[in-house]
Point group: C2
Chain length 552, copies 2
């Protein structure tokens, strides 16, 4: 049996385009001799549809799309994910379902058993878990059909009390199929390979895994769909960060092979290194944010610092250098090198820029506020006015010209609240909000590896917000090398103060850092969605109370 | 057996203050002859602790608090909610638990079975559901101990396949106890009464129900703890929107009575009308936001319109009129009546104000932007600059003086995106973000019912943003009377376009409205938390994709 893996980039709620895309892929699979074509989890609606799932109208449209797609499945069968209605009179109103389309109609379906409800996942919010286990038979083959998390049982303390493959294996399947919506983070590709291989070796069955690709606001999907023979060798693997289709054959003896390659032994997958993955993920994240919303042009405030420099380069790669407008907004506290470094960068990229000094506006604010401020000394208020004036200018350009503002804050700043709300924390999407400052430097180094794009001086000078004379980040924050380690342990690893002290970090630094993180929750609440590249990003995957008193 | 109901206002993560408060209540209960005192669900940590639950350190602190509280429970027993660790090697790492404290230690515990995971609730994100059902015995009485949702089985299509009371009833309990964290919305008090009564009549058992009171950022808890005899009469009910303690006695014959009243028949609960409930909830919401974060002073932009007028009055009630600074920021497009109406209001309240005209700053922006705008006509960009200049001024006052900015947007505006991001959509907390414009008028009428506080002219004039000459809300939006009905059906009732047309709404108006709602998701994402007073508020209870194409 020849099987096609269709790795597509869906658009949430855009039934017309998703359906058309699926039908094109079915035709392509048929032309390549496939008898069965596999699509991802909730492909019909796009993933995650979130609370659109609560609208009957939305579910009706899913069914209508399924019927349209099924009409294409006459001489070829398809397995595709969609929500389905729970026909029972108890439990959540929907299932997360893999539909089997054949003979021009919906022939069968299997529901997802394990519903991830942690981090960025909310599946139990919508779906009832499956409790019935049956193989799917097609052309004499017995398929163990699972959906994403169903195969994702890890470690010695699994999150679930049930294991769907333990049920299905009793019925002696020939192959495991997993249709997934498995969001990217920088170690996900490796984990995925490990998890799939553990299943293959445990059950002595080949597996075919089909994932989403593309960005859905903050969630990035890297693709990386693959097939593994029963020895655990990857015999076909699809592109990272792009649409793709691949084929494998399930033989009479239930060997899974790749007819297009000479050897079916091992290793035709190369997982790029972490920084390269993050780079590609961020470029895709920007591209899809703009593409799916119908925008083409971005604007950023280019300060001469490393964060905005990196965002500019990534945006230029995603949208084309011509389509990213940099705005230089020097103040009286801006150093000469800030402007010069920024100019050198836009020259390197041949991308457009404008220079709009903020001094006159800033002084006008000071004057208008003086009757109320009554000579109180310069402090945070005036620092923030400058950052906010820049935001007003950027948003004015956005409103006037249709540019979309990209946020340039990094994860370290966002974590400790070192940024101005309604100032530099503005933007439609945060490009670096899940990238620690030390990783920002690594990314800049990665970009410069063949040719200096980002001027060396930007990488070398000490970070500064330049909102008062001679300000340096290090006046207010621990060294980023230390800070980022503490943040990583606290945010990604959920280590408490005692754990951190036991690791050897300085007590004052730890307590100060955790307090800064917890008391700036109110700021992060109002910031743009963050392109997620780590296992624990700010946003939908990290839900904290604002009014609380814990380590604060 | 004499039972105390302790209805307290907890502070999330503030173990010291929560523990001290619980211990004071235990002493008060003892002094009043109680043998058992009941506290709310997750009282020890405060509710909802959200992802703090993922920190071992946080759970350790819960256990330490429980031990401290247990030491107080020598001659009196307590039932109190706290997270507990799942000792098994499968499933979620925690249970949502009711601890039974007696003899100075943790004597027993019961876990929550039904874990709400919808709307504002995320309980399955953290907790493993209970699967073991046993009564708790105390002083010869058999207690069916449940936690909130466990008793909350409604309608003909329950969300759960299991019903814990159906299990517990088999063991012949004498009374039902329910400790809850049941957030307020305007019909919650009535629903609660109905649900409890349905259980009482179904199982022919009395019930004692103890809820939280107080605000936790967006979630408001109205209290309203109560006891019901087995005929379904409310025999004791605690305050709405305030801490309180009450007592009931479970007699030898298992009648639940209130010794403090002469009759134990029916109806000692008066649920205030909807607008009165919303009013009190909002005042409490402001009060606790400030109180729990240690702030005392607020600032608002007072436009002369009804929304900011109402927020000022509510804030003055919550914080004291002296503690709310109004800032009038007229522009060239502001009408005389705007300033005069605003001044009349602050005079009525004897609350402080400042007047800071924005014209000079606005003109300076226009001048600085003119080389880039190159004479393009006045449009949304200039409208938004004005709104954003006001935000910069308000935030400057906040930063300089320590005032906290209150947001004044209403739910109708927030729904259709009729507001300026980083402008009038700013603020630490949104007071009216869950109050439709038509309800804003009702609230203003409620406030004015005995004495005109909000000048009549503010209630009478047509709503306007005053960002261009002669602008009216009705230039861009359907009449609020129609708009609010469509929004209610779409947001609260999840009705789709076909349903709305079938209800008789105009097609163009419906399609335009739904499109405005769906395409302004990106704005709402970056706005402050909203005090929740309806069954479906923007924020944590309504989770929508930003990059999507559905009814848009």
């Amino acid at each position: 049996m020849r099987v096609a893996l269709a790795q597509l980039n869906y658009h949430i709620g855009n039934f017309e385009s998703n359906t058309a895309k699926v039908i094109r892929a079915i035709r392509q699979a048929r032309e390549n001799g496939a008898e069965l074509v596999l699509f991802a989890e909730l492909a019909v609606s796009g993933y995650p549809p979130r609370d659109f799932l609560e609208f009957d109208d939305f579910i009706d449209r899913c069914y209508r799309s399924l019927e349209t797609i099924a009409r294409e499945c006459t001489d070829i069968a398809a397995i595709i994910g969609s929500p389905s209605r729970n026909p029972g009179n108890k439990g959540k109103p929907l299932f997360n379902t893999a539909f089997f389309l054949y003979h021009g109609k919906i022939e069968d379906m299997r529901h997802k058993t394990l519903l991830p409800t942690y981090d960025v996942f909310d599946e139990y919010r919508y779906f009832e878990p499956n409790r019935l286990f049956n193989l799917l038979e097609f052309k004499g083959k017995r398929l163990a059909l699972t959906i994403c998390e169903d195969l994702w049982i890890e470690g010695t303390h699994p999150l679930y009390t049930l294991d769907p493959m333990e049920e299905l294996i009793k019925q002696e399947p020939d192959i495991m199929i997993n249709i997934a919506a498995s969001p990217f983070h920088y170690s996900q590709a490796e984990t995925r390979l490990k998890v799939l291989k553990a299943n293959v070796l445990k059950y002595r069955l080949p597996v075919v895994y089909v994932n989403h690709v593309g960005a859905q606001t903050e969630l990035l999907f890297d693709g990386g769909s693959l097939a593994m023979n029963k020895e655990g060798d990857v015999i076909n693997s699809l592109r990272f960060f792009g649409e793709d289709m691949g084929f494998v054959n399930l033989e009479e003896d239930n060997q899974l092979i790749n007819k297009e390659i000479s050897s079916n032994k091992g290793g035709i997958i190369q997982i790029p290194e972490k920084i390269s993955l993050i780079h590609d993920a961020l470029v895709m994240g920007i591209q899809d944010y703009f593409g799916k919303l119908g925008f083409s042009k971005a604007v950023i405030g280019l300060s001469g610092g490393i964060d905005s420099a990196l965002v500019l380069v990534l945006a230029a790669k995603a949208l084309g250098a011509d389509n990213v407008l940099s705005v230089l907004m020097p103040s009286a506290f801006s150093s000469d090198h800030s402007v010069n470094d920024a100019l050198a960068l836009v020259e390197n990229l041949s991308s457009p820029y404008e220079k709009i000094p903020i001094e006159d506006i800033f002084q006008q604010f000071n004057q208008s506020l003086s009757p109320v401020f009554k000579g109180l000394p310069f402090n945070l208020a005036e620092e923030n006015i400058q950052a906010r004036v820049r935001a007003v200018i950027l948003m004015a350009l956005s409103n006037k010209m249709g540019y979309i503002l990209l946020n340039t804050s990094n994860k370290s700043e966002a974590a400790v609240g070192y940024g101005t709300l309604y100032g530099d924390m503005c933007g439609a999407i945060s490009v670096l909000g899940d990238v620690y400052k030390t990783e920002v430097y690594e990314l800049a180094g990665f970009i410069n590896k063949d040719r200096v794009v980002i001027p060396e001086n930007i990488l070398l000078k000490p970070p500064s917000a330049e909102l008062r004379p001679d300000q340096k980040d290090s006046d207010s924050l621990p060294d980023y090398a230390i800070l980022d380690q503490i943040l990583y342990q606290y945010i990604e690893k959920r280590k408490g103060p005692d754990d951190l002290l036991a690791m050897g970090f300085d007590k004052d630094t730890v307590l100060k850092t955790l307090k800064m993180v917890n008391t700036s929750e109110h700021k992060r609440y109002q910031t743009p969605p963050v392109l997620r590249v780590s296992p624990k990003a700010f946003g939908m995957g990290r839900r904290m109370p604002i009014v609380a008193k814990y380590l604060s």
